[in-house]
Amino acid sequence: MRLAVLGAGAVGRAVADLAPSYGHAVTALADSSSAVVDPGGVDVGAALARKDAGDPLGESDPGDALAAEYDALVEATPTTLGDAEPGFSHLRTALERDRHVVLANKGPVAERFADLRALEADSAGDVYFEATVGGAIPACATVADLGPERVSAVRGVLNGTANFVLSRMAAEGLDYDHVLAEAQDLGVAEADPSFDVEGTDAALKCVILANLLREADCGSIEELRERALTLSDAAVEGIRDIPGSALDLAAEDGRTVRLVGEATRDGVRVGPRLVPENGTLAVSGTRNIVEIETEHAGGLAVSGRGAGGEETASAVLADVGRLPDPER
């Protein structure tokens, strides 16, 4: 399959790097300022070397990548909220050309789910977005396999930064500011960690999951338009105000605290929660976990790496593998 990759951050780079080993060719690769386009296959290594040296990826404009020859567009530009631009326009352009779209960008799925499905319905292209939830963890695909109409809830630890901070605070008896500084030194937390520690990132993932459950109850796009959630519908609390004493009290009772997100048909809640110290949700470090409550099969849990270039790229490339083969 021929892929156009938009975004040359950790995820976009890893997708472009790994695509050949999955049997795909990269015909275009773009970052926000330039692009390299080659219908015969981009030399990804050379392009990324140019970028690393401070030069443009290639001679072309980013828009040329969107207009290039490809079977699937991989949208891996940074997540934006509200109108989810420019990611949403990239998706629209590809679908209007009857191309497939695989998203690593959470914005269009969390903020404009009904718009996305409406465009998809009018296109010969399909849209997949496994990489938007839980990095390498197959959360959306597992819900789809089980049948979202038979899933009552999906909950989990969906932000590695927040989980790192909480598990270090609990294990070492250190306070929030101390552990956050350590996480920033290690590159686990960004210089501005608010997206992670305030629960926004986990909430976006839960909104995506809740929309999958709600979609199963909708008979039409109009109905979905009424029922689809966005970030503003989620009840979100972060971990900034948790003192060490709260973790100590939890530990004395055989519990610990994790930033847990929960998606049900009723909505989305994200906040610090008490979980059994040795329970499935008490993953440590940057690890993520997704628990799925099913009607006929009880609970299922998948844990793994929730972030990282290659980890997220593996979810993107799994989605590419789900697309119908253009040769047939």
């Binding site: 909950r155 003192p243 949700l281």
Partner: protein, 210 residues
Amino acid sequence: MPSEPAAAPGERRQSDDADTDTGTDAGGDGDGVRSDGGNVPQAHTVRLELDDEPGQLLAALQPIAENGGNLLSVYHERGNVTPRGRIPVEVDLECAPDRFDAVLEGLREHGVTVTSAGTEEYGGEVTVVLVGHLIETDLSDTLQRLTECANAAVADIDLSAASGTGTGEPSSARVRLRTREGRTADVLDSVRTVADDKGFDVIEPVEGRR
């Protein structure tokens, strides 16, 4: 206070094994639902009235332990006197269902007035951690409101105060609430309301179908 089962451990083990051996699927989900609750301790709330004299409380509690009851909490309303000049006490205890009558009998034999018993059964339990300025905002008022609004009994509370109150640092409290069976979600709703009102954060347990 750990809740020791009042029944002999050997008995419980046997009945658990029997359940496993027969392989009954009655529970359906096999998530540890015990179909035969015969000797599983149940929680009870007993209201007593005591004379306002030294030693009365201890004398009232003794018959509970003697008859196989396990004390969960005692709420001694010293400031609150009945029209007859006596002091009401609310006791939460746990015992095997077949011991509860003996516990009440023992109390009456010791001359303790039991004003209500057994009607308030707290079969469920939920633990939350509250974070905020708990002491400055009147902790006992908070607990009383939890009891009233949440329709739950405060089984115990552990407070971890910030070093030196008035430092602006929040304190934390772990509160174990006994609730009516199946009403945990309602109780958590009420806890959130009280906490919102008082400006606390609530760290609640993950609610699941487990």
